[in-house]
């Protein structure tokens, strides 16, 4: 934008604009129609008691929905579960992803093959991933119980998805398996932009491998890390599909994360007003997370 500052709109620009506008306007109208309009409408709904079951008796309730959310036990319970899910899954994905990226950045035979392989979990649709892990975790016929009992680690089959806290952790495992590869890919791309001379210079100065990683790799990788963490945190915070496939929020609400709670309120009970208010609460949560990341991690990189 900088270079446009100060240039006045000239009469001769109109000729150009006359041709540009008709091409831009449809796209703009489309965006307004599919993003701005629903956004405004949802914000309005969040201030009403709109219930599809009684569509005619819609009335304005102000901040009533938001107050009810703050008083609702379901909300705090699912907020806690979502936070736990997000922290643990993104944390594990980051550690595994960073390790895989550093490993795949080294030169060795078969590296190309492994690099291609690591895309696989990420390329799998989440729904398919959810179904696959549901089968792996199946108490009677699942591969995990079969493996663990054959290796002698467990005597009785474990009902992985049958105990609330265990089920939440099991879903996290499935999510980590799929998404660590996404972080690995992003970080691998970041690693490849770091000039080799920097390592040579560091080695020359006598820096150990660990020190090279902390003093060279990590600071220069920060932008990639930032992008990876922001994207994954936002995704994890609004996780829905893998829960829907694997546990449907059960057992005993053990995996009822925020998105699933919103889905229940909006589409099972048809409380559109309440559901809209919940969605805005989640959006605010995500916004706060994003700001924290950017403030904490964003630094200009200079070589």
């Amino acid at each position: 934008m900088e270079q446009f500052k100060g240039t006045r709109f000239k009469r001769s620009d109109w000729g150009e604009l006359r041709w540009i506008l008709p091409f831009v306007l449809p796209a703009f109208a489309l965006i307004a129609l599919v993003i701005l309009y629903p956004f405004g409408l949802a914000m309005y709904y969040s201030l009403t008691d709109y219930n599809l079951m009684r569509p005619l008796s819609r009335s304005f309730v102000g901040l009533g929905n938001y107050l009810e959310i703050l008083r609702s036990g379901y909300f705090w319970d699912s907020l806690w579960k979502t936070t736990y899910f997000t922290l643990l899954s993104v944390g594990l994905e980051f550690v595994l992803g960073l390790w895989a990226a550093v490993f795949l950045n080294k030169k060795f035979r078969g590296r190309g093959f492994l690099r291609a392989l690591i895309i696989l979990p990420w390329a799998l649709p989440t729904v398919v991933n959810g179904m696959m892990w549901q089968w792996i975790f199946d108490a009677n016929y699942g591969a995990l119980n079969g493996l663990l009992s054959q290796l002698g680690f467990i005597k009785h089959y474990v009902i992985w998805l049958g105990e609330p806290f265990m089920a939440l952790n099991s879903v996290i495992v499935a999510d980590v398996w799929k998404n660590f590869s996404f972080i690995a890919l992003l970080l691998l791309a970041g690693l490849q932009t770091i000039p080799a001379e920097l390592y040579e210079a560091a080695t020359m100065d006598g820096a150990s491998g660990w020190r090279r990683f902390w003093k060279v790799t990590f600071p220069l990788l920060k932008p990639s890390i930032l992008v990876a963490l922001v994207l994954r945190t936002i995704e994890a915070f609004k996780v829905f599909d893998i829960i829907y496939m694997m546990t449907k929020g059960g057992p005993a609400d053990g995996t009822q994360v925020l998105s699933f709670y919103i889905y229940r309120e909006s589409f099972q009970f048809l409380h559109l007003g309440f559901g809209a208010a919940l969605s805005f609460m989640v959006s605010v949560g995500i916004l706060i997370l994003a700001v924290v990341y950017i403030k904490g991690l964003y630094t200009e990189v200079e070589y």
Partner: protein, 430 residues
């Protein structure tokens, strides 16, 4: 000069594009008018979708001006699919599949068209009341039942004989006794598996077990009694089956009526609750290891002789449909005696016509008509509330809290009672 010719070209291009678009739209519109056929779209559950699909060619032959487009989804997706499709009076679907627990909700939301004037005197007289009731609300008719159904008690007679039992359990206490014996003799690892994941199927089993112990949810005067002592005793029994008697596969907590059926047809368990559609699968040697060994008995009782959760479904017309006449023709066609007979004989469903229960051909060819129809007397409906989804959600959660031993049965049902009373107040006890 150069600039002018560029502008000219642009105008020409725009003109060509416009002409092309108008032609395309014109052709499309002409095509729509040329087709005289009315196409109706039916949204059906997967259960018995095979029968409905097979009936379409016959219907289209009898009604050459109507074309039927049937879309089927799994039961678990059906409610959400209907709600999202019909919200705001959309006209995408003409006929929708309605579970008996949704009637009140859908009518209040304005999703269903009133068909009271279309229902014939013959239908009112000939269709069994248990069926006709499911789509009746506020003394008006909102569709026709397609089959009558409840949960049934299936048992593996082969395993029972090996354990030395000549008859299936008649009470839940006997059920535990037989289960223990079956497990002691190592005939099965667990005597039964239930579909007790946190979903609607759990409530269908709850209304099969709670009433047998004398329990109920609503008093005749409309007061909720979710935590009455009989219900607590029944829930304690369910918990004990898992942890004290260890007579049920612990995986029950994650199962639904489809996955429990997989264990049953593999011969891994001796007892199981399921709907009538299960019979077609259990008795099919290409799918089931236990075909020919399984029988159907009256659901065990305790205080009461027997009880089983009702789950009939029917078809109604979407209120936004512009093809209501054609839609009704299709519904009425599937409800006809001949079609119902076919559905009973070839797909194992219980027919809606009283007369078909005594029809010699149906009696001869339906595998379990006598057993099934004697269970119908003990069918228990889930509460009819416009806010049933929320009622069920609370009950599912609290029953699950007991089944996963998060709470004692008493505590769980006390909490359910409190939350349900709050909801009832919010919705004006409707």
């Amino acid at each position: 000069m150069k600039n002018q010719s560029r502008q000219g070209k642009m105008w020409l291009l725009s003109g060509v594009v416009l002409i092309f678009m108008f032609t395309a739209f014109g052709l499309l519109a002409a095509g729509a008018f040329a087709a005289e056929k009315t196409t109706i779209t039916v949204l059906s559950s997967d259960d018995f979708a095979a029968f409905r699909k097979a009936a379409i060619p016959d219907f289209e032959k009898a009604n050459p001006d109507i074309k039927v487009n049937l879309i089927s989804v799994g039961y678990d997706q059906l409610h959400d699919k209907i709600v999202t499709a019909l919200a705001g009076g959309a006209t995408g679907f003409d006929v929708i599949d309605v579970d008996e627990i949704w009637t009140a909700e859908f009518v209040e939301a304005g999703f269903l068209a009133d068909v009271t004037d279309r229902v014939t005197a013959e239908m009112k007289k000939g269709i069994v009341p248990a069926g006709m009731n499911i789509l009746t609300y506020q003394n008006r008719f909102w569709g026709l039942p397609m089959f009558v159904d409840t949960k049934f008690f299936y048992y593996n007679n082969d395993l029972l004989a090996k354990a030395g039992f000549k008859t299936p359990p008649q009470t839940w206490a006997e059920f535990v006794e037989q289960s223990k014996k079956l497990q002691e003799k190592k005939l099965v690892k667990y005597a039964t598996i239930w579909g007790w994941g946190q979903h609607e199927g759990l409530i269908c089993d709850v209304v099969s077990i709670f009433p047998a112990f004398g329990g109920r949810f609503i008093e005749p005067n409309g007061k909720f009694v979710v935590n009455n002592p009989d219900n607590v005793r029944a829930l304690q029994f369910m918990v004990d089956l898992l942890y004290k008697y260890k007579a049920a596969d612990p995986a029950s907590i994650t199962a639904d009526d489809r996955s429990m059926l997989n264990s049953f047809i593999a011969g891994d368990v001796a007892f199981g609750l399921n709907w009538s559609f299960a019979w077609g699968i259990i008795d099919d040697p290409s799918q089931s290891k236990v075909a020919g060994k399984v029988r159907l008995a009256l659901m065990p009782g305790e205080k009461k002789k027997s009880a089983s959760g009702a789950g009939s479904m029917g078809l109604g017309i979407a209120s936004g449909s512009r093809r209501k006449d054609a839609a009704w023709k299709f519904i009425a066609f599937l409800a006809e005696r001949q079609q119902q007979k076919n559905q009973a004989i070839n797909y194992g469903a219980l027919p809606i016509w009283q007369s078909l229960y005594t029809d010699p051909e149906v009696q001869k060819k339906h595998p379990a008509l006598a057993e099934m129809s004697s269970q119908l007397k003990y069918a228990v409906s889930r509460p009819r509330l416009t806010w049933y989804s929320e009622f069920s959600r609370v009950l599912q959660l609290e029953v699950h809290n007991a089944l996963t031993q998060n709470k004692s049965p008493k505590q769980a049902l006390d909490d359910a009672q409190k939350e349900i009373e709050r909801l009832a107040k919010k919705y004006g006890n409707k």
